[in-house]
Symmetry: C2
Amino acid sequence: MGTNGSLEVIPLGGLGEIGMNLMVYGYDEKLLVVDCGLTFPGSDTPGVDVIIPDATFLNENRDRVVGFVLTHGHEDHLGAMPYIWPNVEGPIYGSAMTLGILKNKFREHGLLEKATMIEVGNRQPFQVGPFNVCFIQVSHSIVDSAALAIKIPLGTIIHTGDFKIDHTPVDNRPTDLYSLARYGENGVLALLSDSTNINRQGSTTSESVVAGALAKVFARAQELIIVATFASNIQRIQQIIDAAQRENRKVIISGRSMQNNIEVAKSLGFLRIPDGVLLDMRSFPHLPRKEIAVISSGSQGEPNSSLSRIAAGDHREIKIQPGDMVVLSSRFIPGNEQTIWSLVNRMFRAGAEVIHESNLPQIHVSGHAPQEDLKLMLALTRPKFFIPIHGEIRHLQSHRHLASHMGVALENSVVAENGTRVIITADSITLGDPVPSGRVFVDGKGVGDVGDIVLRDRKHLSEDGLVVVVLVVDKISGAILQRPELLTRGVIYEEDHRDLLEQVKEAVEEALHLGPKGMDFTEDEEVGPKDLAQRAVRRFFKKKLGRRPAVIPLVMEM
Amino acid sequence: MGTNGSLEVIPLGGLGEIGMNLMVYGYDEKLLVVDCGLTFPGSDTPGVDVIIPDATFLNENRDRVVGFVLTHGHEDHLGAMPYIWPNVEGPIYGSAMTLGILKNKFREHGLLEKATMIEVGNRQPFQVGPFNVCFIQVSHSIVDSAALAIKIPLGTIIHTGDFKIDHTPVDNRPTDLYSLARYGENGVLALLSDSTNINRQGSTTSESVVAGALAKVFARAQELIIVATFASNIQRIQQIIDAAQRENRKVIISGRSMQNNIEVAKSLGFLRIPDGVLLDMRSFPHLPRKEIAVISSGSQGEPNSSLSRIAAGDHREIKIQPGDMVVLSSRFIPGNEQTIWSLVNRMFRAGAEVIHESNLPQIHVSGHAPQEDLKLMLALTRPKFFIPIHGEIRHLQSHRHLASHMGVALENSVVAENGTRVIITADSITLGDPVPSGRVFVDGKGVGDVGDIVLRDRKHLSEDGLVVVVLVVDKISGAILQRPELLTRGVIYEEDHRDLLEQVKEAVEEALHLGPKGMDFTEDEEVGPKDLAQRAVRRFFKKKLGRRPAVIPLVMEM
């Protein structure tokens, strides 16, 4: 891989889907891993805890891996580290905030002692095997994010990570336009750029516009204010604290992930909180409600999150009262809308006013560059080759199109998907042989043991339920020794349908008695009592209820 | 109900949730039903086919029902008729298009002969029991929609149904502003108005702006064009046909529901299609692709719909080829986004360009009035009392707020939810005793037999799967006669985990052998082999895999 002076770009995650970003660069027989994220399950992956990329390729080539570089601290860029890194190992490079978040994770997984983490500053090149890497400051919805310049003898690669071009960021750390322009001026071999917001027109809306929206809401609030946002959005948390202070409210943090991130950010100087502003949850009952602002995690309606418990009336301290104000300073992540709206309705019912992106758009801004800023990135770096990253195929295609408008000829760009090997030489970009790739499901303690078949079973169970029919037969004669037993789940409410179950049993008995005749078996099928019982149950439910539960016959031989 | 000259307004559906609209008006001991809709299942109702309102109140008062009035032909306004009407009966009033759609439904359910349907024209009052009803033309995303003026001695009620105020509708049938204003001038006792788009600012975007977007897309297309839209949106279908004609393309309709609606609309004169423009699907292979426009149903990515089959490569005639253009002239209904995007990605992968609301906003417009038009409705009708309808509680609350800005004092409006009885007299609006209400699930042939317990089981099964453990015991001695049998679904892939299943069996045998000691049973619990086996299996999966499948023990006594 990456021999004869060519570079290989091997996406294992994040291309062709949103989330679980994992990119591998191969040069001179060595591999550099950039980001190692996870994604969260959707309606097609019920019961799964998290989803990580298939890292078979890394596991099989662990001797060649020279290190991991993390662009920022979001779950979709580092969340898979505890699962993937232990099988690969190698030094881990990242910014202070990124490593702070990773350390918490590694501590939870008992990995902290084993890992070598190297904190990296912007504009300070470092060598990892044959790769000379330099962090370039970018603005994003988490502080201390970076794009990467990766230099090899063949040329310089710019890997943007997640970014936007915010000229007035709250942390005063705008995207480093000079560095990007300097690389562009000196020659960029390839740009790999964030495609998340390719479908949005215009330029980045600055994080600082949220201040205005928050100020308006805080000025109007009469009673308790609860603001929910993403636990990692430190700039947003800073702005909420600032707004609270201006209205002389104390701030209480609710939610463990948010507590953790705030600790890390404070210790690194990313949060400026005067003494006495942050109070412990235990102070809640002792202060007038109108002097409190609660900052809560759970803006996606996650079950058991702080905000869900508040909405359900299950929170130990915080109950919604008429006149309270609830603010969702966050995006509704697609797939979560119904859950979030039902939470919003519960708050309305309890008498709160609820502010969200739909009724006050500037209460949240995105962390990703829209079209005009994606053009700016292309204009600054002027790459010879282009690979759109971070997105479904529709995003990647559109981004490739945009790059062609910006002068990157179509033959100089490719849309790759996870597992596609891209080979770059001084004057060509082509697709090579694929590598193993895919989604690995983490469920409880199991990593990868829940696969597509189990998920298909779960989906079938969830839609149609299941019927188990147990037969006890004589081992020798094959005679039925007992009435069949029946058990259903998710089909009908058994308590109310004893008679129906009795009818099913009778149908099974009749089928066992009559044998395969008239049951649509083909002539050469070998038909046992198991098959007869299954067929009889299926037929009964289809005819009687129009349903197709999974029917599992179980034969006990005595 | 509705005695002493008071009016009762009893919502059985559509208030506190989106869809399945069903309103009952009670006056002088008689009941008038307005609309009778269904809603579609979401992630919390897996396997359910459709959801209808609980009509217990109507069933119990069927002698008092004087009739059903339908405002328009959408599923969420008439889709529950085949399930609810047969138990209640009474004449059915509606516009030509509405009754045309209902007739198709009633025919499918074998109800057509039993029903009396009375076609109603706009501005032509008719008497139903004590209610004098008059249809008022409104524009909406289906032709022949109406608002209702319901006159009783107490005063006039305006019930908007779904509406928008489109000054340039494609069918030249704008909302009848004069009638609304005249009722307002003469005095409106109460307005019940559509809250769906209360969170959108501004005025209605006319259906006719879609023509411009379609024209642009059609002019640019080089090969096959496929346009997906809602099967009932006749105006949209007209515009797609017009665009196709201008570019000399023939039109082929794909999808049964769309075929049916087009038939009804054509026969009623709502569609103007010159001869020779519409072709049968069988013509598809015989024409050059660039001379065809396909209009397809399935814009929500419904499984087995025409568009899904095309995207999956399963359509008998139509396969996507590079250079084709696919247009989603439709909204992404919340909850369906992931399904639709995955369909879009499949089309992109096959080489098509896909146009949708996110990359070309004017390719679809909403059928519901946004804020400025809701104000206009209030300004025209100037009601004394106000009840927001059609929406979740957050919509209803916001609409009530808007009405108060428009001069309806807060004490003259109420937010009601399904089952809340609202009592209106000449000078008061109050809440009365509730009536039974709720959601009834239709699954296969069963109406109402799938309830919350079955759905909870289905959800549990889908997340954690299920383990059945079968014990065979001696009826007299209680001795275990056989090794326990084990069966799992949705937990692990059994083929790969024979050893694990063996371990579970051993754990069960050990538990049966040791008895209740050390198993966390309380002292006074009666513990049988069933309990021991269940507990042992649960403990095993939790400890070994961190999972909590449903564990069902089944004891066969011999």
